[in-house]
């Protein structure tokens, strides 16, 4: 069994792999994607020739090549479960396997934070990250006429990528305003290069005639079975104030109001969680080596808090050093020596990262948008009205209680989407002390797994429990 199993081959996982390789750790990397890179270094299929690869793509490719030499990679392989003994269950194309590595690094990343508004389930409405992935890895134009709505630098990155892909980007709807950002500007000025990077995204957009609306947000999406129009409103217009709404014809709406961390595996491993202000959710707590409260379980990257790719990379390296130290492969002093420069870099990066959610907060007004008939659990088509009733009629104060009576969170996605939007939505709309920090209890399997695959190994009576009951096959 390996020294280290790394879940996730994004910036965090790849940096950890490269560092672990240098430290002589026997390492396996698992990612359910068919190519390595995660979100930031997302790659097109290897066989596709590309005449004008971006700088980031090339850096990613180099990093992946180095990591591939340093560890065993298992791509297209999902970690579908982890139990309290840290036995880890893998599903590769329907073939199921159990591994028991000495240590695990959870570098499972994040996903776009879901927001429910009328029409958000129409085909053509997607997360900003989704549009980006379509362009970067599949090299397609995700729509003809696009509106990009959300908050933060990622919007401009995506808008620019859409533009380059030939999409007519009509407007960027940014919730933040210069005024709302003002209190944080002095702090931000200490990072001129990063600010210049932000401006660098916005300028070409403006030059291409893309309107950037600040202080505005999505209101609803409409269309017959697909997106045809987007309605936007000033953030502060009071709930449903039709006169202030504008209608934009579009067949693509990209929504990006920040990210949510993928923490199910950490929860199942028994890691202690802590509230993250930037993400507005509970994430695994970790120490100066990226070690969680669960023995031998480490976290790095967006899975444990906002930061962006550079932070994820530093955390990945630190985690690898932490694992080597934990396994006694390097001395504490040696580990400290190696960690010091990384830590000082991290401190600076994190300071900037922590400014972003303050410069670009997701507006609380988003919670005004869902109407009674708006679907909040996409898997089960549960409406907002039903979820709200669980609170106002049945007295639910936590998300798990809402699940009990509505089936929210019981579908294919295991509650990642409704679990990401309901806590703040219900806390604001129910007005009865619903706990905005509550979430669904994570359940194995974290990815659906085929019955036949499990049955194939379940039929073999494990020698350690030869149940003498009358149930021998």
């Amino acid at each position: 069994m390996p020294d280290l199993l790394i879940v996730g081959a994004g910036p965090a996982g790849l940096s950890a792999t490269n560092k672990a390789g240098q430290l002589g750790l026997d390492c396996v990397v698992v990612d359910e994607n068919t190519s390595a890179g995660g979100q930031y270094y997302r790659q097109p299929p290897v066989a596709w020739a590309n005449d004008r690869p971006s700088d980031r793509l090339l850096r990613g490719r180099a990093k992946i090549e180095r990591a591939t030499a340093a560890a065993t990679f298992r791509l297209g392989c999902a970690v579908y479960g982890i139990d309290a003994e840290h036995r880890i269950w893998l599903d590769q194309d329907g073939s199921v396997e159990r591994v028991e590595p000495a240590c695990v690094l959870l570098a499972t990343g994040a996903y776009d934070r879901p927001v429910a508004f009328p029409g958000w389930t129409l085909p053509g409405v997607m997360s900003a990250g989704s549009a980006q992935a379509l362009i970067k890895s599949q090299q397609v134009r995700p729509g003809a006429r696009a509106v990009v709505a959300g908050s933060g630098p990622f919007l401009y990155v995506v808008a620019l990528e859409l533009l380059h892909a030939g999409v007519h980007v009509i407007e960027v709807i940014e919730a933040a305003t210069v005024r709302s950002a003002l209190p944080f500007l002095p702090d931000s000025m200490r990072y001129p290069a990063r600010l210049a990077e932000l401006v660098g995204y916005a300028l070409p957009l403006l030059r291409a005639g893309v309107r950037i609306r600040r202080g505005a947000m999505i209101s609803s999406a409409g269309g017959d079975q697909r997106l045809e129009e987007v309605r936007v409103r000033p953030v502060r217009s009071g709930a449903n104030d039709p006169p202030l709404e504008r209608v934009i014809d579009a067949d693509l709406l990209c929504v990006g109001y920040g990210f949510a961390a993928s923490t199910e595996l950490a929860q199942l491993a028994g890691c202690t969680l802590a509230w993250d202000r930037g993400l507005q959710q509970n994430v695994p707590a970790y120490d100066e080596w990226q070690a969680t409260s669960a023995d031998g379980v480490f976290v790095a990257g967006e899975a444990s808090g906002l930061g962006g790719a550079p932070v994820a990379e530093c955390e990945g390296e630190l985690a690898a050093i932490g694992v080597a130290r934990h396994l006694g492969r390097i001395s504490d002093a040696g580990a400290q020596r190696m960690a010091e420069p990384i830590r000082s870099r991290l401190r600076r990066l994190r300071r900037f990262a922590s400014l972003l959610p303050r410069l670009f907060p997701a507006p609380p007004e988003l919670a005004e948008l869902a109407r009674p008939e708006t679907i909040v659990c996409r898997c089960q088509n549960v409406t907002f009205e039903r979820a709200l009733e669980a609170v106002t009629h049945a007295g639910a104060t936590t998300l798990n209680e809402v699940k009990t009576t509505t089936r929210c969170g019981m579908g294919w996605c295991q509650g990642r989407i409704c679990g990401g939007l309901l806590p703040s939505l219900l806390a604001q709309r129910a007005g009865t002390g619903f706990d905005p920090a509550s979430g669904f209890t994570a359940r194995n399997p974290v990815r659906p797994v085929q019955v036949s695959s499990l049955a194939a190994i379940g039929r073999v009576e494990p020698s350690d429990h030869g149940g003498p009951g009358p149930d021998h096959p």
Binding site: N33, Q39, W48, L122, P123, M126, S130, L134, D224, E228
Partner: protein, 102 residues
């Protein structure tokens, strides 16, 4: 083809794609290229990926997290079209109706 079903996606001209192949979506042949996802193959011919009893479904997260895009492949349900690559002759079912509702 009415406006509500015209394709969501177009392939960009630049890159050289993988070899041409055909998948079978609910009995209809759909041409596509090695290296593409099922979602891309379907959305280059229409505006939605699947349909349940309540509504048409497209892409949402696009990275394998939300399961909005699930289809059945060779009879196996719950396959995420956004992260699953096509192969020649792949049989994809996109009518979920009541049956896949967990």
């Amino acid at each position: 083809m009415d406006a509500s079903s015209s394709p969501q996606l177009d392939r960009l001209a630049g890159p050289r794609r993988g070899s041409a192949l055909t998948i079978d979506v609910d009995g209809e042949p759909i041409p596509c290229f090695a290296g593409e996802t099922i979602a891309v193959a379907i959305l280059t011919v229409r505006s939605w990926i699947s349909q349940d009893a309540v509504r048409r479904r497209g892409l949402y997260c696009g990275i394998g997290v939300c399961f909005e895009c699930v289809v059945a492949v060779e009879g196996v349900p719950g396959i995420r079209a956004c992260i699953t690559l096509v192969h020649e002759g792949m049989f994809v079912q996109t009518r979920l109706d009541a049956e896949i509702d967990a």
